[in-house]
């Protein structure tokens, strides 16, 4: 069994679908933070069989986790302080997602205008529908 040490302050993101931790790493823009990150792939899980875990050692106010709810509701977010879990975050869908996903509508201005952020607005919370701010195209994972 692989051992990864405890973190003093930060987040442990548990129950990530196996194989998706790297995508999450980029979605959270962790490459921009100067902090210690452990990416654990294919850990054993009673709930999922296999899972990924991300451990991020950082100031807990420094990381915006809003996008997690959009990516996967089932991720457990443990907030760590002084090496202890002090909180488990409930994930809420963000009202706006910026530069995480791209508009796939070939007629959208984002397909040609340089430097334009890809912004999606939560249009329907119940059905988790996001639409491009500019062309209103529904975001689809496909």
């Amino acid at each position: 069994m692989l051992n990864v040490g405890k973190i003093r302050e930060g987040f442990v993101l548990d129950h990530i679908k196996a194989g998706e931790s790297l995508e999450l790493y980029h979605s959270l823009q962790l490459e921009k933070l100067d902090c210690t990150v452990a990416i654990i792939k294919n850990a054993r899980s009673n709930k999922l069989g296999k899972k990924d875990i991300l451990k991020v050692e950082c100031d807990i106010n420094e990381l915006n986790l809003d996008v997690l709810a959009f990516i996967d509701h089932n991720i457990t977010v443990n907030v760590i302080k002084d090496e202890n879990i002090v909180d488990k975050k409930i994930l809420v869908l963000p009202k706006e997602i910026k530069n995480i996903i791209k508009c796939k509508n070939p007629r959208c201005i984002t397909s040609v205008e340089q430097g334009l952020p890809h912004v999606f607005i939560l249009a329907d919370e119940k059905n988790e529908v996001y639409r491009c701010k500019y062309c209103e195209e529904k975001y689809s994972h496909l």
Binding site: R107, C108, I109, E113, G115, D124, K133, Y134, C135, K138
Partner: protein, 306 residues
């Protein structure tokens, strides 16, 4: 500063004020002839459109203002690769208000985000065409005296037809509206519109044939199947003649039903209908000038100063 991106940018009360102003302009055209003296309208048209551009220009000239601009992307800096964001920053130094048409959806919104003058969306790809919608609403209100409790049929290209999307969007806010969407399956209204109608509990039907629903309609809004919205010519040729309104179909319509069309027409409305008193599509064009005049005055904050 106000812009116009979608018909929903104005509340129902604001629209009523705009239409009242347009009505006053219609009655007292002469008294508005210097209302915009010294003001300039920039028409930034990245794709050709004679009608909408000339309607904007006529509106500004009627108000005593002047116009400048370009009528296709080839004669603008866009052909050199300039972004919309940069273009509008430059245009903001030349003009007091801008009407923008662009083949890419959302381009006028990008402009509005960076602009220091009011921007009017004059049509963006297959997305929105709010000033056509204001024209349509003013036409309905002027000819019928109200904007609620109608059954409205929309026929033709409902997938890419931006005038249709904008009109549905605007009519959602009036009571007792029922939509009947008449189109081939390939050109049905996008799901974001039908999703929203379901959410708002607004009744709508999607049908294939026009003749079956004619007797129920208070309005029939016809649209052209536009060649430039298709990815291949084969699809266009197969679908373009699908829905043609002629005298025979009109016999089933109510005596007071009105036919609207954003124009240009190709062959979807037979010319034999032009003299039918129910044909309102050329009146629409005149209402379009009045409503654009009212819009320019409103966005420039000059609505009280004729």
């Amino acid at each position: 500063m106000r812009h116009l991106m979608s018909p929903l940018d104005f509340t129902v009360e604001e629209l009523n004020r705009l239409f009242d102003l347009a009505g006053d302009i219609e009655q007292n055209m002469g008294s508005y002839s210097t209302a915009c003296a010294g003001k300039k309208l920039a028409t930034c048209f990245y794709e050709p459109s004679t009608r909408t551009r000339l309607s904007f220009e006529a509106a500004m000239l009627n108000l005593g203002g002047s116009v400048l601009g370009f009528s296709d992307a080839g004669s603008s800096s866009a052909s050199k690769g300039e972004s919309v964001s940069d273009t509008i920053r430059v245009i903001s130094c030349f003009a007091d208000i801008c009407a923008m048409r662009h083949p890419k959806e959302g381009a006028p919104m990008v402009a509005a985000d960076k602009s220091s003058i009011p921007v009017i969306n004059a049509g963006d790809g297959g997305h929105q065409h709010p000033t056509q919608t204001l024209t349509d609403l003013l036409t309905i209100r002027s000819l019928k005296g109200r904007l609620d409790h109608f059954t409205i049929g929309l026929c033709g290209d409902l997938k890419f037809g931006r005038t249709v999307h904008s009109l549905i969007h605007a009519l959602e806010r009036y009571e007792g509206i029922e939509f009947i969407f008449i189109s081939p399956e390939e050109l049905q209204v996008p799901d974001y519109i039908t999703d929203r109608l379901k959410e708002l509990n607004i009744p709508f039907e999607e049908v294939i044939r026009l003749d079956n629903v004619m007797p129920r309609l208070d309005f029939l809004y016809m649209t052209r199947v536009q060649k430039e919205r298709f990815f291949n010519e084969e699809d266009y040729v197969r679908l373009k003649d699908f829905y043609i309104l002629d005298k025979a179909k009109m016999e089933d319509a109510k005596a007071e039903m009105l036919v609207l069309h954003p124009l240009p027409r190709v062959n979807e409305i037979s010319v034999e209908l032009d003299d039918d008193p129910r044909a309102a599509y050329f009146k629409q064009v005149q209402f379009g000038v009045y409503v654009r005049m009212a819009l320019i005055l409103t966005l420039l904050g000059l609505e009280g100063g004729k």
